[in-house]
């Protein structure tokens, strides 16, 4: 067996004092640890604001949602602003079903998230 395994590319950009992370792909049980690690690194680097651009995420399961909830809690502790933006309709509906849509700061566009 080749353990090439599942990957999740995450583009990381600095815009002013914000770090923008843009994962590309499904955030599921096999891939959410990759997103978890990328968020933890952004927090360690001391950004004032972290924006998750979810425009490239067609799907997320409860392990992805749990990673977001954990990130929110860590950001609160460290007084870092966390926001989500550009959700696909599927991921938006998953956040709604999990009743997490009111828990997170969610912006339509990436620019609004960076400014907001």
């Amino acid at each position: 067996m080749q353990p090439s395994g599942p990957t999740l590319d995450i583009v990381k950009e600095s815009v002013g004092s914000a770090t923008v992370l843009s994962p590309k792909g499904d955030v599921d049980m096999a891939r959410s640890p990759i997103m978890r690690k990328a968020i933890a690194e952004a927090l360690k680097a001391g950004s004032a604001k972290v924006v998750l651009d979810l425009s490239g995420v067609p799907y997320m399961d409860s392990s992805g949602l749990a990673t977001l909830v954990e990130a929110l809690q860590n950001c609160r502790k460290a007084q870092i602003a966390l926001s989500l933006c550009a959700l696909t309709p599927r991921v938006r509906s998953i956040l709604e079903i999990a009743r997490l849509n009111t828990v997170f700061a969610i912006h339509e566009s990436r620019d609004a998230a960076i400014a907001g």
Binding site: Y59, S62, A98
Partner: protein, 149 residues
């Protein structure tokens, strides 16, 4: 609601490995759309199945990569919609012991069971006499209610 007696159109056996979830989701998503589910309903069925499989891999087989999981897929007999039946040979547990957290409680774990209940029109967990567990999920399009229990 009586179970459909027709032979499932597709039956899949996978090993209990997280990296196999994405390929199975792709297939079930395509089938769900062919069975008349709208895009969001198909996504919700796929998510419910994914949560059931994740639980079997994580809790049932306790992370062992060589457990077997069988997934049977069939269109509903009495209207548009898809049925997903999942069978394992993992730990047999009393489904009443499955504890999910309340959706209003905000913490990372325990979301799976509650999500599953909110996502599909029918959800059943039962121990199998032969050992292991059986989960049945059914989903109809958002605008139909025909036959929903």
């Amino acid at each position: 609601m009586a179970d459909s007696l027709a032979e499932p159109e597709i039956q899949v056996q996978i090993l209990s490995r997280p990296e196999l979830l994405a390929p199975v989701r792709s297939m079930v998503n395509a089938l769900a759309q062919d069975a008349g589910l709208d895009d969001i309903s198909a996504c919700h069925l796929v998510l419910a199945m994914d949560e059931a499989l994740t639980n079997i891999i994580r809790h049932g087989y306790a992370g062992s990569p060589d457990g077997r999981i069988w997934i049977r897929l069939s269109q509903l007999a009495d209207g548009p919609g898809l049925r997903v039946e999942i069978v394992d040979r993992a730990r047999t547990v009393d489904p009443d012991q499955f504890r999910g957290r309340d959706l209003d409680e905000i913490r990372p774990g325990g979301l799976g069971m509650h999500l599953m209940r909110s996502l599909v029109d029918r959800l059943e967990h039962a121990p199998r006499p032969e050992g292991g567990m059986r989960v049945v999920l059914e989903k109809r399009p958002a605008h139909t209610t025909a036959g929903v229990a």
